[in-house]
C-alpha cells in the first residue's frame, strides 16, 4: 500500500515534471531581459498615469522602444536616467504638468443640479437676474482627494481641493473622478497659450484687463498668504508686473464689481505689493520654460511689447533675439516714463529676469539701417516681431514751432533719460493733457522750473491718469484749461520767448465722445516763457520700414501710421511677420503692449509649429460680456479702500527724482485683498446675510 502510494505520487510528479521540462524547452519564449530590469527601476505604483496598464505594461513598452523612459509620471529623474542608460536612450524632457482647479464657467454644478434644465451661468443669469454665489463650481465632495494615489490633493480651508504641485504627478485620476469637471491637467504651455473665451469663468476685471491676467486667482492667493503663487499667476500673463504695479492706469478697476458698492479693489496696489516683495526678497522665483524647440525668432524693439513677446516665446521653448535701436532695453519705460514713477534700477532688475531665461539681445542695432526683413531671414530667423512703439511727436501746427527752445515731449523725456542736460530756463510751458504732458511737467518741476500746462479742454477731459493730475497739482504745476497755442514768438536770435494762445469753449461731442473745443475769436493772449514742450500726441515712426530704393512699405499701414495686422493673430500682411504694441494700436498702455505681445508670441508659436496655421478659438472673448456687468451687488458690506502710500514729500519730492508712490504693507495688502469679491461671470462672494434666507426663496 505504502509503496504503491509512494510510487504513484512519485510517478505523477515525475510525469508532470517531465511534461513541464519538455514544454519549457518547446514553448520557450525569448523575453527581453530588460523588461524585468526596467520594471525593477520603475516605482511600482501602478497608477496608470503613463497610459499603460500598470508598471509592467510600461516596462514592456519601454523595452520594446514604444515609449520613452520618461513616460513614467512618478519616477524621479534619477530612476529615469537609470532606465535610459539601460536602454541606451536619452530622456526626453517632458514639460511638467500638474492638476489645476478652475471653474470652467459654462458647466457649473449649481446650475446643473439646482436650476434643473439651465446649463450655464448665462442662462441662470437671464432667468434669475444674475448674482448668486457659486463656489468655483466645486461641490466639495473630496472625490479627487480620495482617488489621488500620491496624496497630492487635500481639502483647503475653503472646502476646495488644493493641489500640492510637488506631489502631483499629473496621472489624471482626479480629472476622471471629478463629477463636475473643474479639474484639468494642464501644462504650462497650454496655460500660456490660452486666450480668454466667453465660456471661461471671467470676472469683469479679467475681461477688461488687456493682459488677460487672472486677477481673482492672484488676489485669492494673496489672501491665502501665497505671495509667490500670486507672482507666478501674474507672470503667466505679464512679465512686467513690477512695472505695471507702478504705472498701470488699471482698466480692470474701472469695472470692478465692488466699485458698484463702494470703491474698486486696489488691484494694482496688490500687484505692486507682491512684485515688490519678490524684488526686495533678493531672490528671483524660478520661471519654468518649455523644452527647447530650436526655432529662432527676431524681436525688433525692446519695449514692453517686444519684451513680452520675447518672454513668452522663450517660455514656449523658442529662441528669441531682441534687436533694439537704443543703448538699453525698455522702450518708453526707460526713455519716456520718468524715474520718479519707475526707478531705472528696478526696471533693470525686471528686464534682467526676462533676459535670464535665455533671451539674446543686440543693442544699438536699428531696423532698416543695420538689417531688414530680408537679412533677418538670411540669418535664419523664421519669424519676425515688430514692436517699434510710437516715437514720433505730433506737431502743434503753430507758427514758429521750430524755433530754439521748443522741444517735443518724447524727445525731451528721452534726452532727459539719456542724461543729457537741457537748458529749460525758469519758465516752462507744457502743451497737452496726456500722460506724456504730465510727465514732462513733473520732470521740469524737479529740474527747478515753474511750469504751466496748457490744455484745450477742461480738467475732466484730460486723458492722463487722475492721480498723475493730482500729483502735478500737488507739486505746483499751474494749469491753464481751455487754451490752445497759436504762435511761438522768438527773439532776434531765434529763441522762443513767448507763446501766443487762444481761449476755447466746449462745443458738441466728437467721435471720441469728448466735447470738441472751439476757438473764441479775439481771445489771443501772450505768455512769457523760456521753454515750450508740445506733448500732444505721438505716432509710430515707420520710416525704417521703407526701402531707400523702392518707395513702398512691405507691410500695410493705416493713416495713423500704424501697422495693419489681423486683430486676433497679429500677423501682418507679410506671412511670418507679426506686430503688437504702440506701433499696432497707436499710443496705448504698457499692459496692452504686454498682452498683445503674448498674443503675438502665441501666434508665432503656432506659426512655427503648424506651418502657418494659427488657430483662433471660436468663443474668444473680444469685448466685455454684457450680462456680467450688472450693477446691483446685494449682500456686500461697505469697506474702505486702501490709500496709495507716498514715500517722499515736500522738497524731497519736488526737487529729486526719488520714487513717489510706495507699496502697501502686508496687513494693508491683506485687508485690501479681502475686499475682493472673487467674482465669476455672475457669481461673487457675499459677506452679509441677504434679506431672503436662501437661494431657494429667491427662485
Amino acid at each position: 500500500m505504502i509503496t504503491t502510494s509512494g510510487l504513484t505520487l512519485f510517478g505523477l510528479g515525475l510525469g508532470a515534471a517531465a511534461i513541464l521540462a519538455v514544454a519549457s524547452k518547446l514553448l520557450y519564449v525569448k523575453e527581453d531581459p530588460r523588461i524585468a530590469q526596467v520594471e525593477d527601476l520603475l516605482p511600482g505604483v501602478n497608477c496608470g498615469g503613463c497610459g499603460y496598464p500598470g508598471c509592467a505594461g510600461a516596462a514592456t513598452a519601454i523595452a520594446a522602444g514604444k515609449a520613452n523612459p520618461s513616460v513614467c509620471v512618478v519616477a524621479d529623474l534619477e530612476a529615469m536616467a537609470a532606465i535610459a542608460e539601460l536602454m541606451g536612450q536619452t530622456i526626453e524632457e517632458r514639460e511638467p504638468e500638474i492638476a489645476f482647479r478652475d471653474c470652467t464657467g459654462g458647466e457649473r454644478a449649481e446650475e446643473r443640479f439646482a436650476y434643473s434644465g439651465i446649463m450655464d451661468c448665462q442662462a441662470a443669469a437671464m432667468l434669475h437676474g444674475g448674482a448668486k454665489s457659486c463656489p468655483e463650481g466645486c461641490l466639495g465632495f473630496g472625490t479627487c482627494v480620495a482617488v489621488c494615489p500620491f496624496d497630492a490633493i487635500h481639502m483647503g480651508p475653503e472646502k476646495l481641493p488644493v493641489v500640492d504641485p510637488n506631489e502631483c504627478r499629473a496621472c489624471g485620476k482626479c480629472v476622471e473622478a471629478c463629477p463636475r469637471g473643474v479639474i484639468s491637467i494642464v501644462g504650462i504651455t497650454s496655460r500660456l497659450l490660452h486666450l480668454n473665451e466667453v465660456t471661461d469663468c471671467l470676472a469683469p476685471c479679467r475681461q477688461q484687463c488687456p493682459g488677460q491676467i487672472d486677477i481673482p486667482r492672484y488676489i485669492e492667493q494673496i489672501k491665502a498668504g501665497d505671495y509667490e503663487g500670486a507672482v507666478n499667476t501674474i507672470r503667466e500673463r505679464n512679465p512686467l508686473l513690477m512695472v505695471c504695479g507702478r504705472v498701470c492706469p488699471r482698466p480692470c478697476e474701472s469695472v470692478c464689481r465692488r466699485g458698484h458698492v463702494d470703491s474698486p479693489v486696489g488691484i494694482n496696489m496688490l500687484k505692486r505689493f507682491v512684485a515688490d516683495r519678490e524684488l526686495h526678497s533678493g531672490n528671483r522665483l524660478p520661471i519654468p520654460c518649455a523644452k527647447e524647440t530650436g526655432h529662432k525668432v527676431a524681436v525688433i524693439g525692446g519695449g514692453p511689447a517686444g519684451l513680452s513677446c520675447a518672454y513668452f516665446l522663450r517660455r514656449l521653448g523658442h529662441n528669441p533675439t531682441i534687436f533694439e535701436a537704443m543703448p538699453a532695453l525698455g522702450g518708453q519705460l526707460r526713455y519716456g516714463i520718468p524715474e520718479y514713477r519707475l526707478p531705472k534700477k528696478d526696471l533693470d532688475w525686471e528686464i534682467q529676469g526676462i533676459l535670464d531665461l535665455g533671451v539674446d539681445i543686440h543693442l544699438k542695432r536699428k531696423f532698416g539701417r543695420d538689417y531688414d526683413l530680408n537679412t533677418l531671414k538670411e540669418d535664419g530667423f523664421e519669424a519676425v516681431f515688430l514692436g517699434l512703439g510710437a516715437w514720433q511727436a505730433s506737431g502743434m501746427y503753430a507758427e514758429g514751432e521750430d524755433l530754439e527752445g521748443v522741444l517735443g515731449g518724447i524727445e525731451f523725456l528721452t534726452a532727459h533719460a539719456l542724461g543729457q542736460t537741457i537748458d529749460i530756463g525758469r519758465k516752462v510751458i507744457v502743451v497737452g493733457g496726456g500722460n506724456t504732458a504730465i510727465d514732462c511737467a513733473r520732470t521740469c518741476v524737479r529740474l527747478g522750473a515753474e511750469v504751466t500746462m496748457l490744455y484745450r479742454r477742461t480738467r475732466a477731459e484730460m486723458p492722463a491718469n487722475p492721480e498723475e493730475i493730482v500729483g502735478a497739482e500737488e507739486e505746483g504745476v499751474q494749469f491753464k484749461f481751455l487754451a490752445a497755442p497759436t504762435r511761438v514768438i522768438g527773439d532776434e536770435n531765434g529763441k522762443a520767448t513767448h507763446l501766443e494762445f487762444r481761449m476755447m469753449k466746449l462745443g458738441e461731442p466728437d467721435d471720441s465722445g469728448r466735447r470738441r473745443p472751439e476757438p473764441i475769436e479775439g481771445s489771443e493772449t501772450l505768455m512769457e516763457t523760456d521753454f515750450i514742450i508740445p506733448a500732444i500726441g505721438q505716432k509710430p515712426d515707420l520710416s525704417c520700414l521703407y526701402d531707400e530704393t523702392v518707395e513702398k512699405c512691405p507691410v500695410e499701414t493705416t493713416r495713423w501710421q500704424t501697422i495693419v495686422a489681423d486683430p486676433d493673430t497679429l500677423q501682418t500682411v507679410v506671412p511670418g511677420v507679426f506686430t503688437a504694441g504702440d506701433v499696432f494700436t497707436g499710443p496705448d498702455l504698457v499692459i496692452a503692449a504686454v498682452g498683445d505681445g503674448r498674443k503675438a508670441a502665441r501666434s508665432i508659436h503656432y506659426y512655427l509649429q503648424r506651418e502657418g496655421d494659427i488657430p483662433i478659438p471660436p468663443m474668444v472673448q473680444r469685448e466685455l460680456i454684457p450680462y456680467t456687468l450688472f450693477k446691483e451687488v446685494p449682500g456686500v458690506q461697505h469697506s474702505e479702500r486702501a490709500n496709495m502710500p507716498h514715500m517722499c514729500h515736500g522738497d524731497d519730492r519736488n526737487c529729486t527724482f526719488a520714487e513717489v508712490e510706495g507699496a502697501l504693507s502686508e496687513p494693508e495688502a491683506l485687508t485690501e485683498a479681502n475686499r475682493c469679491l472673487h467674482c465669476g461671470l455672475t457669481c461673487y462672494d457675499r459677506d452679509m446675510e441677504l434679506p431672503w434666507k436662501n437661494e431657494q426663496e429667491l427662485r
Binding site: 504503491t4 502510494s5 504513484t8 505520487l9 505523477l12 510528479g13 508532470a16 515534471a17 511534461i19 513541464l20 514544454a23 519549457s24 518547446l26 514553448l27 520557450y28 519564449v29 509592467a56 465632495f141 473630496g142 472625490t143 480620495a146 482617488v147 473622478a177
Partner: protein, 191 residues
Amino acid sequence: MQEYFLLFIAAIFVNNIVLAQYLGNCPFIGTSKETSVALGMGGAVVFVAVMATAITWLVQEYLLSPLGLDFLQTLAFILVIASLVQFVEMFLKKMVPPLYKSLGIFLPLITTNCAVMGIALICQRKEFPLLKSVAFAAASGIGFMIALVVLAGIRERLEIRRVPRAMRGTPVGLVMAGLMSLAFFAFKGMI
C-alpha cells in the same frame, strides 16, 4: 437538457462558489478593486477550473480509483493542478499571445487557488460523469466571475465615497462581500 440548465443555475446562483461556499476568498478580495481586473481574473478562473476539473477527473478515474488510492486525492490534485497551470501558462505564452496578455498575469495567482481545487473536489464528491463535471466547473467559474465583477463595481464606487479611515479598503470590501453573500442566500429556496 433541463438537468444541465438546473446545474448551471445552481452553480452560479444557489451554490455560488464564493458567496455560498466561501471558497476562493483570497482572490475575491484581492482582485476586486477594478472591474477590468475582475473580468480578467474571472476569465482565468473559468478557464483553469474547466481544464483542472477535466484532468483531475481523468486522474481520479484512471489512476487513483483503479489503484484504490482515493485517500491521495487531495495531494495528487494539488500536484496536477499546479503543474497544469504552469503548463497552460507556457502554452498560452507561446501559442496564443493575445489570450496570454489578458489572462497571463492572473494564472500564477490561481495555481493554488482553493476555488479551482474546490470545484474539482466537489465534482468527485458528487460523482459527476466527465461531461457534467466540466459543465459544473464552467458554471462555478462563471459564478465566481459574476461575484467578482459585482464586488469590483461596488468597490469602485466605494473608492470615492466617504468611508471612515479605519474601514477603507479591505475591511469595507469584506463587509460588502458579506452583504452580497446574504443577498445570494435569497436564491437558496429556488431549486
